[in-house]
Subunit: 339 residues, 4 copies
């Protein structure tokens, strides 16, 4: 933290800032400049709140210098973290493809789609049993019946399954059936849910919030890790901007930034970012070219009959093309470090 | 819903869209235009998903025409809803002032601040017992001890109290102590929490999500009302934009829009929007001038020692000025209808 | 500027940063911290570019500390600047109301509207002769004929007139006819136009760009002032966000921030922010309550026949109500300083 | 355009809307729905303004259905447009690489960098002679001297050159020296400049505005084409969002959307999107994987001494790696159609 004083700040005002810093157990280091004084805050144990200083008389600004996260940081752990889900390993050196319908609708639907995506090269199966829906009047998922279908898919195809958990009440249940638990974009800062996830023995797929900075996203992962669960995979899925030609704006610069800041793997969900089928293939190729560790893609054999998000679901034959293209790109660019 | 076809759409493609519409139990009305056909969807019972059509061959776009909410809509209930909290009535004709610290830190702190804000004219007391914090390493609130202090404040001052409930586990507890329960910005689409709030006998203060459209916000209120609890107050608290001179950007056009679309009352929280003390007074005046039904303002007698959000907390004497100014503005502009 | 080094930065890397700083003629002051070194840059004559440091080996971040503007800054000139336009004075202590149609369409139209708004209390008349339009196929303004009508309005009513200048070619012409020249939101960073405006003898109304930070906006004003023209009025008119219930999102926190950072007056244009008539009155009241020095409002006696922007134009009788309400608010809150 | 009426709209109000439509020479087609009437507007010659209807009594909304652009639209011209610049052809089937420094600083600097990038595989050379700068106190470019250096680069290396033109005054000059003229992001809606570009015999590189929708961007291209110059290349360079880990947010979904909506080629500028060197390579790969027709990349042999934008400039050896990687990706994914 650097506290920047007004040009006209008095010695008493500087003194007051120093006192506040020292009262927090930190060291204050005033730095006289050309036209104003700034005061560095050193030796702070945890993150300091700029609000301690902004609003004090004579203070112009308070600028955070260090990052508030620890466990997620590459400065704490330099090596890439690899996450094991069943037989699948997510992380550097691998391209992990997760695919399946938005929602589990029936055993028949799930098994049909699972058969298709496995054949095309998917490593994991996705499908929602508990669905967060904007409207209380639309399909909310099959619940436990959906989880049982997911277990059946795993049994039949051998693919580990990932599904969303929406609240702490259903956590034990979802943890029982699924191989990996997803925390959705709307729950990225549902801190009670994050804490419960931190006590889980399952790996967690943590989606980025709709308007979350990377710092907030990594802090959400920090919540999980601070409880003891270090198996976290991050998932970029687009952020909300003024743009309306896609449902959200996929922020691919998040991939190199997260890979630089953190040792956790990061995958990309192009389906929710795009919100429409005809952007999913180019965005999938782009995500792999940007060095994502994997993709999560929605696929449905009858998207026009899907109970949710049909518009963004690929047909199985489209997913087949996607797999071939992204593997080819991964072969020529995967694992490359940015400069 | 209006489905817009490509200029080059074939009769078969139009036919397919009609079939999808009719399979949903709706009526399809093709509208031949100058250069392309559009197809109106009539008699839909609930909200239709554009995704049913986007991605079908020959379809250029699918444009929602009607709003997906019902219970919150002024088209369903024309008269303003008044919400009773203790002796306080929130809604048209009144200006309700809620004030207090970000977090309850001690009985002494709470009672001191409550005494100040009551004297200045506050009608309700606010204070957090369970605090959603970005970092797992910062103060998370006193929990039940904080709720007991809130009850003490009500007893001592007569002011009803409002506090945040973060999850369903603590719901019964918070419901027991507080007069009004707040659902915070990060939980606006925590649907499990919304459903529980819908079963509560307490009025709910529903904050707008950081990147929520008004439609999504009203749909969140619809979740609560659909469960039977019709006592919902909406709270605008700023949205996330590219702007960084304030923590969030207060969206005051939300006030006239919500008042036109819905019969529910809407208040404004200038403290969280601004994130810094020196913007709170002008934004408070602006919110009242824009016809908000009330304000929720953070006040602390020792903000530089506050355990959270000190930078945006007013000193009691500043809140006193605020009360006088906003009441004067309410007297000259309050209750005015926009054109 | 504070250059923050990696935890693992080597002495050689720190040395290289120091060399870059000194090569720019500045003083480097390394600040050893708990876990990393930061390097303060002192005695820089003008704004330094973070890009000098970001990307150097061992550098984690470069944080600007001081603002890049000088002439617009209140640190340079503490007293409020008052701007004289004809007999009207814009600035502290006054509420200046500018009103008129989006575009000048005919002498009859202009004089009719001017008569109405003057009677209601407007101090200045606005109207476009050169219109920036998104589509090349829509009405582009009357050009010089429009400017002549504006001059006629001034003659007839005594109100000074303000109109947009879109390019340097037409500058002399617009400067000849108008009392104040507006630089529109799309041209806020048209630096050639800003430089020409800096050589003008007329006061300039500088609208904020659609996605401009306050710093960029003040730097645009700095361009004008750096050429010698110190008569600049700033105009907040909404910024682009994800929100779509209004055309833009009016950022009223800009008012206290600009008033604190700069000595220049700031007015608000609620019409372009809202884009629809039914939000103009509440936003106008809010702007005045937030301490804007004035308003610029679109008024048309036949908005449904207007050649541009009819949806946001008030009827004369609505503007009459607006004037009475904002003056009442100004009387109870105007000129108040934020804390 | 579809005009949606209130549920409670009266027959007189519907009649008034019909009258407004017919007064514009269009056909009104009322569509009675389940609970409200909508009115389709047919046979409109050009774009209609929603503002004609919003604000009329009984009108709830006015929804544009057709796009306002013509010449840029693939519905007008189905085949991809190829743009010839010197010997280089930009458009489908080719990957065009443009590279060079942000600003031309000296003949030596330009020729050195040009030699490097040509060797690595660049097809065109970029470099600014007139520089739009946020601050009036920073380097503004060499002007005509810079243009002469660009001509020297073309002579020496055979690469066509592209450079920015900032205003109409300098247009003839820039047109004389450069092979392709760039209109920068801040000038995307500088309509006077667009019109002049429309009269040019040179191809135009039109950058997307910082907060421009795709519709606004295509309308800017329409301005150029409407004057007779059909040689337009679009350039995505990131948009402004709440994100601050990159300077702007690269919107790669713009690539498939523009390719579907328009016949014009689209390239990507990862350097200005990222604003920092370490994101340029991953974003370049991603852009090519998303099917962009080319890249424009900043390269400098001594970026720490660059007079502008050094932080985002690649070292020549980094650009060499970039060229090899993006060509490999183009070979496996280029020219692929999205679904």
């Amino acid at each position: 933290m650097l506290v920047v004083m007004d040009v006209s700040a008095t010695p008493e005002q500087i003194e007051q800032v120093v006192n506040v810093i020292e009262a927090k157990g930190c060291t204050a280091r005033p730095i006289p400049g050309g036209d104003r004084v700034s005061i560095g805050v050193l030796n702070n144990a945890g993150p300091l709140d700029a609000s301690l200083f902004i609003g004090l008389p004579g203070v112009k600004d308070a600028v955070p210098i260090t990052k508030p996260y620890k466990l997620v940081s590459r400065e704490t752990k330099a090596d890439d973290t690899l996450i094991q889900v069943g037989d699948v390993v997510i992380g550097n050196g691998n391209l992990t493809l997760m695919a399946g319908p938005c929602a589990i609708e029936s055993e028949d639907q799930a098994l049909t789609i699972a058969g298709h995506v496995k054949k095309s090269g998917a490593h994991m199966f996705r499908g929602g049993a508990f669905k967060p829906r904007t409207s209380p009047y639309t399909f909310q998922g099959l619940g436990e019946a959906g989880l049982k279908i997911l277990a059946k898919v795993r049994e039949t195809t051998g693919m580990p399954v990932v599904t969303e958990v929406m609240d702490t009440q259903a956590f034990d249940l979802v943890e029982h059936y699924a191989d990996m638990l997803q925390i959705g974009t709307r729950n990225m800062q549902n801190f009670s849910l994050l804490k419960r996830a931190g006590e889980s023995f399952r790996p967690i797929l943590l989606k980025r919030g709709l308007a979350a900075t990377i710092e907030e996203w990594l802090m959400a992962a920090e919540y999980i890790m601070a409880q003891g669960n270090h198996q976290v995979v991050l998932c970029e899925r687009g952020v909300r901007t003024f743009v309306h030609h896609s449902r959200n704006t996929l922020d691919l610069s998040a991939v190199p930034v997260v890979r630089k800041e953190s040792h956790l793997p990061i995958i990309v969900d192009p389906s929710h970012a795009a919100g429409r089928r005809d952007q999913v293939l180019p965005l999938s190729r782009a995500a792999v070219a940007a060095n994502a560790h994997g993709l999560m893609v929605e696929v449905h054999h009858q998207p026009e009959k899907a109970l949710s998000d049909g518009a963004q679901s690929l047909y199985p034959e489209q997913f087949d093309i996607l797999c071939r293209q992204v593997k080819a790109i991964f072969n020529v660019s995967g694992g490359q470090e940015p400069f």
